[in-house]
């Protein structure tokens, strides 16, 4: 059984007097123990909402969550808040997109790290401080004892994200959810942080749910990849399978819109036109149809079913791309 099994997860924002927003719509995927799984899609497609729903961090009011998110045999969506608070940070931890705003500006880094150690590992005083310094060192922060006394604004963006990673891995969680952990950082720093995450999960056997809008950046580290569009999973496959063959035009565009140095000469870039706002409600057909280069009339006949191939490759498209990309 997988470590995390998300099944038919739906999240609907329904505030009084506002139009309902179906941010996540029947999404399913698995994360095996110690494995890195990618969750990819443009901004606004429901990645953050998915991760917050799994963690039980969505606001309680005006939100309807349905489906299952089974972690280690326990459905997190049905678990009471008290138990969830014990699980968070200890068994499942999360890293957010913006390291500056994710740290408390008026509390020294050290206190924020020891807080987690006190909460889940019962460490106090000198022992906690020592362990905090050790953690900072482990995530590659030089001179950790000095850094512990500093405030978030005294650290660089990369250092802040490292500090947040240190807090997230402080209790050696079995699952780490990273929601666009490098989006707010410079390109050179991005690579370093990804390298750090890769090393950490490999060394400690932590499973990683890697959320990103930039498939090219993380593709290399994921064992399998799920592509989200307008709240639904439109394609899912092991990395090698997906790289050899992408069936959904959206995924083709998503990978095609990243220039690759090793691309054969003359290969055309195929950027996705329009924006995620040009969506069709799924009930009326494929939500991607208005932006799709492969559109046919059948696309708007009704919601496309998820089709599975023999190679564990699923796609939700009535007119998929079938020939290998490089053959074009």
């Amino acid at each position: 059984m997988a470590l995390l099994e998300v099944k038919d997860l739906s999240v609907v924002f329904a505030r009084k007097g506002e139009r309902e927003v179906r941010a996540v719509d029947g999404v399913s995927f698995d994360v095996d123990a110690g494995e890195v799984v990618g969750l990819v899609g443009e901004s606004g497609c429901g990645k953050s909402v998915t991760s917050l729903a799994i963690m039980g961090l969505l606001p309680k009011r005006g939100v309807r969550v349905s489906g299952q998110a089974t972690f280690d045999g326990m459905n997190l969506l049905q678990t009471d808040e008290r138990t969830l608070r014990d699980i968070r940070g200890r068994d499942v931890a999360m890293i957010f997109q913006d390291p500056l705003s994710s740290l408390n500006p008026v509390v020294p880094i050290g206190l924020q790290v020891t807080e987690v150690l006190t909460r889940h590992r019962g460490m106090k005083g000198e022992a906690a401080k020592k362990e905090a310094a050790h953690l900072l060192e482990r995530v590659g922060i030089p001179d950790p004892t000095r850094r512990l006394k500093e405030y978030p604004h005294q650290l660089s963006g990369g250092m802040r994200q490292r500090a947040l990673i240190a807090m997230a891995v402080a209790c050696a969680p079995r699952l780490l959810i990273a929601d666009e952990p490098t989006t707010a950082l410079d390109v050179t720093i991005q690579a370093q942080i990804l390298e750090l995450l890769k090393d950490l999960v490999r060394d400690s056997g932590t499973a990683l749910l890697m959320i990103t809008h930039d498939l090219g950046v993380v593709a290399g580290m994921c064992k399998s990849i799920n592509v989200l569009y307008a709240g639904r999973r439109v394609e899912s496959a092991p990395r090698r399978v997906l790289f050899a063959q992408r069936h959904h035009p959206y995924t083709v565009g998503l990978l095609g819109s990243i220039p690759r140095l090793d691309a054969p000469k003359g290969e055309k870039l195929r950027p996705i036109t329009g924006s995620v706002r040009d969506v069709l409600p799924w009930a009326e057909g494929c939500a991607f149809a208005p932006r799709c280069f492969n559109r046919v009339d059948r696309c708007v006949d009704g919601p496309p079913e998820l089709v599975w191939t023999a190679a564990q490759h699923g796609y939700r498209c009535v007119n998929p791309v079938m020939e290998a990309e490089t053959a074009k």
């Binding site: 200890r90 931890a93 408390n104 405030y151």
Partner: protein, 321 residues
Amino acid sequence: MTLTGRKKEKIDRLGELAGAPEESGQSLLREAFKRLRRNPAAIAGAIILGLFVLIALFGPFLVPHDPVEPIGVDNGEVRSGQGIIPGISGEHWLGYDHQGRDEFSRMIVGARQTLWVGVVATFFGLAVGSLVGGLAGASYGLGGKWGRRLDGFLMRTVDILLAMPSLLLAVSIVAILGRSLLSVMIAVGMVSVPVFARLLRGSMIAQSSSDYVLAATALGVKRNKIALSHLLPNSLAPVLVQATLTLATAIIEAAGLSFLGLGNPDSAAPEWGVMLADAQGFLDVRPGLAIYPAVGIIITALGFTLLGEAMREALDPKLRK
């Protein structure tokens, strides 16, 4: 708009300042301090307050005459019943008061009680208001349905206090508690309780939807810990600004209570409000006796207001260029 509505709006506006999300708190405070030092109004306020505090602390040891002994009556200079109260002289810089005591010494010594009442009353209001507002804000921001109910209950109670005219409220409290220095402090402090409560609550609610609270929750940090070590330190700035402004009104209100005869029953202890009240009967003979304490109250209140308003401006991201 009703008066209560206007009051509420003013308080909430200040509360929002704490929730300016793009700023990091530390550098925000440092920036604010820099702006403060460049603001002439802030400097003027700080100088006035510095002098006032120095006088209040050390003045009583340096005064030329005993502020309580009626010296002028003993040597027959003052006969207030006959309208004879000598004015400014080389010996008595502000003349005598109606009981033949040295007015200058009384002004200096009076500063101490005025400051003391203001500070204790403001501190009382700050403590009680922060307790109520902090509890309400934390339960609204972090708690579920029951948190909202507790917040609703606390804030409706506070709204009742806020709806009452402040002097009326203070007078009623002194009437209930009986006349004493302590009840003046409590009465004046009580008036500012709803302001502090509303302010801290608003600022904590604004903070509770911030990313670092979400991040701490995602690490399993408990709610009371989040409230105390994350929400509170980030919500205090506007409350401290308000405390400075409240010192001004507290001093005026304390003087007002004294003026109404509800102040410190120990009438020998000089206090500007009492001195103002005492001077009423001698306005035609020696108007100065009313003017000196009035000017003292006005200048001190002005000092606190200048500094407080400058602090508010320095913290307000929308007023910044």
